[in-house]
C-alpha cells in the first residue's frame, strides 16, 4: 500500500467528542489528501496538503481541520463529531499534484453514535 498507514483502522465515538485520525507515509511525497467515502457519493475531498504546514480545504471541509507538522504525517481532526461524519476516511498521497497517480491508505471506518 505504497507506505501509507492510517490509524486507527476502526473507531466508534460519541457525538460531540473530538476525534483525530492519523495518516503516516514513508514515501516522502509532497501531497497528502483526506477523503471520505459514503454510499452514493463516491470519494469526496475534505482537505489536502501541499507541504509542511501548507494545507487547504476540499469540497466537504466543514467540521474538519487538519495539520501537517512533518512531511510524513497528516492529521485529520473532527472538532466535535456528528452522526453525519460516520464514514470511511481515506488518506492518499501523491509525489506531485493530481496530474499523477494517487496512492491510498487502507481507510479508517469511523462510527459516530
Amino acid at each position: 500500500d505504497a507506505g501509507i498507514t492510517q490509524s486507527p483502522r476502526h473507531k466508534v465515538t460519541e457525538t460531540g467528542t473530538p476525534v483525530t485520525l492519523r495518516c503516516h507515509q514513508t514515501e516522502n511525497h509532497r501531497y497528502m489528501y483526506w477523503y471520505r467515502q459514503d454510499p452514493g457519493h463516491g470519494l469526496r475531498l475534505i482537505h489536502y496538503s501541499y507541504g509542511v504546514k501548507d494545507t487547504d480545504k476540499g469540497e466537504v471541509s466543514d467540521g474538519y481541520s487538519v495539520s501537517r507538522s512533518k512531511t510524513e504525517d497528516f492529521l485529520l481532526t473532527l472538532e466535535s463529531a456528528t452522526s453525519s461524519q460516520t464514514s470511511v476516511y481515506f488518506c492518499a498521497i501523491s509525489p506531485r499534484d493530481p496530474n499523477t497517480e494517487a496512492f491510498f491508505g487502507q481507510g479508517t471506518r469511523l462510527t459516530v453514535v
Binding site: G42, F90, D97, F104
Partner: protein
C-alpha cells in the same frame, strides 16, 4: 457535485467475458484516471490517460477517452473472478493552481466463476 459519473452502477458477468464501464464528466480535464477498490480496501491506481490521448492499454485493460463527448470507457478483457471490485474514474481539472482529483460514484463489477 461529482465530476465523474460511472455507468452502469453495477455489472455482473461470467469469467472470460469482457467488462466495459463508462465514465462521463462535465468540465475540461488535464487527465482522467481509473482506480479499483476491493471490498474493505483502499483504492488502487490502474491507469491514467491524458487529455491529448485517445486510447491507452495496460495488460488486460483498455481505456479510451473522447474529450468532445466528455466521456471515457474502461474495458477489462477476459475477466477473472479476481477482477471483482468497484471501479472509479477520477478527473484532474485543467487550470492554474491546485486541481483536485474528483471521483465518480463507481461501478461495482461482479465476475462469477
Amino acid at each position: 457535485s461529482q465530476q465523474g459519473e460511472e455507468d452502469p452502477q453495477a455489472l455482473s458477468i461470467q469469467e472470460g467475458e469482457n467488462a466495459t464501464m463508462n465514465c462521463s464528466y462535465k468540465t475540461s480535464i488535464n487527465n482522467l484516471q481509473w482506480y479499483r477498490q476491493n471490498s474493505g480496501r483502499g483504492l488502487v491506481h490502474l491507469i491514467l490517460i491524458r487529455s491529448n490521448e485517445r486510447e491507452k492499454h495496460s495488460g488486460r485493460l483498455r481505456v479510451t477517452l473522447d474529450t468532445s463527448k466528455k466521456s471515457s470507457s474502461l474495458l477489462i478483457t477476459a475477466s477473472r473472478a479476481a477482477d471483482t471490485a468497484s471501479y472509479f474514474c477520477a478527473t484532474a481539472g485543467r487550470g492554474t493552481g491546485f486541481q483536485k482529483l474528483v471521483f465518480g460514484t463507481g461501478t461495482r463489477l461482479l465476475v462469477s466463476p
